[in-house]
Amino acid sequence: MDIIVCMKWVPDTSEGDLVIDRDGKEIKKDSLDYDMNDWDRFAIEEAVRIKEKLGGTVTAVTVGPDDAEEMLRECLARGADEAFVLSDDSFEGSDSYATAQVLAQFMRNRSYGLILTGTLADDDCAGEFGGLLAAMLGIPASTLVSGIEPDEGKVKFKRELEGGLYEAIEMNLPALLAVATGLNEPRFVSVRAVRKVASIEIPVLGLDDIGLEESKVGAAGARIQIESMVLPPEGEGAEIIKGTAEEAAAKLAEILKEKGGIL
């Protein structure tokens, strides 16, 4: 089965201070490291595992800057067969909707049994992209998916509900599955594995290459517009225990005894 995996190249904002840009509509990203979206790492791993079991090909694709090639190189090292960066100045200001338009157009010229992606992206925290893409392609979609078992024109899987409950689902192929984290253990990618795929060309495709009107992409095609960004006020909430780590730990032990009633 041929699988296409949609990847996202995101700034690592999990730790450290973020700074709002001067126009108040974006964060400063120049000093941030970029990496593969965590949820998508599980998606590319799952695609390669399905290929190893059933045969077929794995294609990794992203809408992002040219730098995203580094992420796609890692996908190739993991076992993807080919990779594409979709990049164009006109994509600037895209939301999930406009990004899905770009990828839907890319997919229309290709054959696939399954499209995989992560359920959420760490930057926009929206969880919209996969469902939008599937709707544009007219195929069924699901999210928070694990336990994927493709079988003759259909696929069975589990999807996560709340409180530890899951539902088992059967879906016709082709389909789009947005995966949950933890559905597999992504393999370690060695420097040697990356070097082995260094000669594989990763084409960069623009608006004209995929054949889409400019009015459908970027800020022009978006349905969500950011009006302002603010950091939640600091100092709201916890009383921070001062001192060295050791001193703070000692005070914390007292607090746990007095207020928590432990011991």
Binding site: P11, T13, S14, E15, G16, D17, F42, S96, D122, D123, C125, A126, G127, E128, G131, A135, P140, A141, S142, T143, L144, K156, R159, E160, L161, G163, G164, L165, Y166, E167, I169, M171, N172, T181, G182, G221, R223, I224, Q225, I226, E227, M229, L231, P232, G237, A238, I240, I241, A245, E246, A248, A249, L252, A253, I255, L256, G260, G261, I262, L263
Partner: protein
């Protein structure tokens, strides 16, 4: 005038709490926009649910079809598409549950609506709604507007919209025939699967030592188990720890895992994404240790230490042992 709709979410023929949070947000927005509020219920054996909803909403549109019983996103998209066509422009409000995360994007495309997910607040400017949501590891509050279409769909972060029953006023109920045709669905519900039960029940624990991504990639789990033992508690965790197979799923606290109400919740290296925090609301004492002073966990904790937890944990255990003597 934009009409406001709220989708009633149900599971196993019971209305879910997300429904009432959506009604609360819908009432507020309907008031501010001067719009009419209608609740939509698509389910199976719906009479008891319809009755309860009509006590709280001025209007209920109800559709009974067994194919809606398991909240199948494909059936709902077709059903809602048929009901809301002709009622445009509209604003549809739903919870941000794991079921609706799947429903909302495809529905927004089918209904030609702009979608903002996981919203925690709204503003009205020039008669138009704007939504507050979070971005960048849930650390930045972002105000978004909607464009290129008049229809709007929003999903709500749990716990941010308080519902108050209005006791009694009976709304009108309009029962519509099922808009679903005979064509088979591409997505089929098979059955529910309950989570594996473990040897530790974190839901009933009084003292919880909970571990997050900040404990590192190759942590010495014995150190944390030892601290939990010394405190007389159990180990729990956030999602990344289960994803890395460091603890089994039944240790996971949060909306996708177990909801807990211990007397003491010690969060080590947990950033505090809302999915996790949703599972610890109601714990009387939450204490957090994290390197990142901006970590959202410090907004729900009463006490915090900004430090490398590897330096804190051994000293903490030692001090607790001393205090015990």
């Amino acid at each position: 005038m934009r009409q406001i709709f709220v989708l009633a979410e149900h599971r196993k023929h019971q209305l879910r709490d997300t429904t009432w949070e959506a009604v609360a947000a819908g009432r507020k927005l309907a008031g501010e926009l001067g719009a009419e509020l209608t609740c939509l219920l698509l389910g199976s054996n719906i009479d008891p649910m319809t009755e309860v909803l009509a006590r709280e909403c001025p209007k209920v549109i109800a559709v009974d079809d067994p194919r809606f019983a398991n909240f199948n996103s494909e059936a709902l998209t077709k059903g809602l598409g048929s009901i809301l066509k002709g009622r445009e422009p509209f604003m549809l409000i739903m919870g941000n549950s794991n079921s609706i995360i799947e429903l909302a994007p495809g529905l927004s495309f089918a209904l030609d609506a702009a979608l903002a997910t996981d919203c925690f607040g709204f503003e009205v400017r020039d008669g138009k709604p704007l939504a507050w949501r979070q971005m960048y590891s849930y650390k930045v509050n972002t105000l978004v507007s909607f464009k290129n279409t008049e229809n709007i769909i929003v999903t709500l972060r749990g716990g941010f919209f308080q519902f108050t029953p209005t006791a009694g006023a009976s709304g009108t109920v309009e029962k519509l025939p099922s808009p679903l045709g005979d064509e088979p669905l591409g997505k089929r519900f098979l059955n529910y699967v309950e989570a594996e039960k473990g040897d530790v029940d974190v839901a009933s624990a009084d003292i919880i030592v909970s571990l997050g991504r900040g404990i590192g990639d190759e942590p010495d789990m014995d150190v944390f188990q030892s601290l939990a033992d010394t405190m007389g508690g159990v180990l729990a965790c956030s999602r990344p720890i289960v994803d890395k197979s460091l603890l089994p799923k039944y240790h996971q606290v949060g909306t996708s895992g177990v909801e807990v109400k211990p007397k003491v919740y010690l969060a080590l290296g947990i950033s505090g994404a809302f999915q996790h925090v949703g599972g610890i609301k109601g714990s009387p004492l939450i204490v957090a240790v994290n390197k990142d002073p901006r970590a959202p966990i410090f907004r729900v904790a009463q006490y915090g230490i900004v430090a490398d937890l590897n330096q804190v944990v051994p000293v903490l255990e030692e001090k607790i042992k001393e205090l015990k003597r």
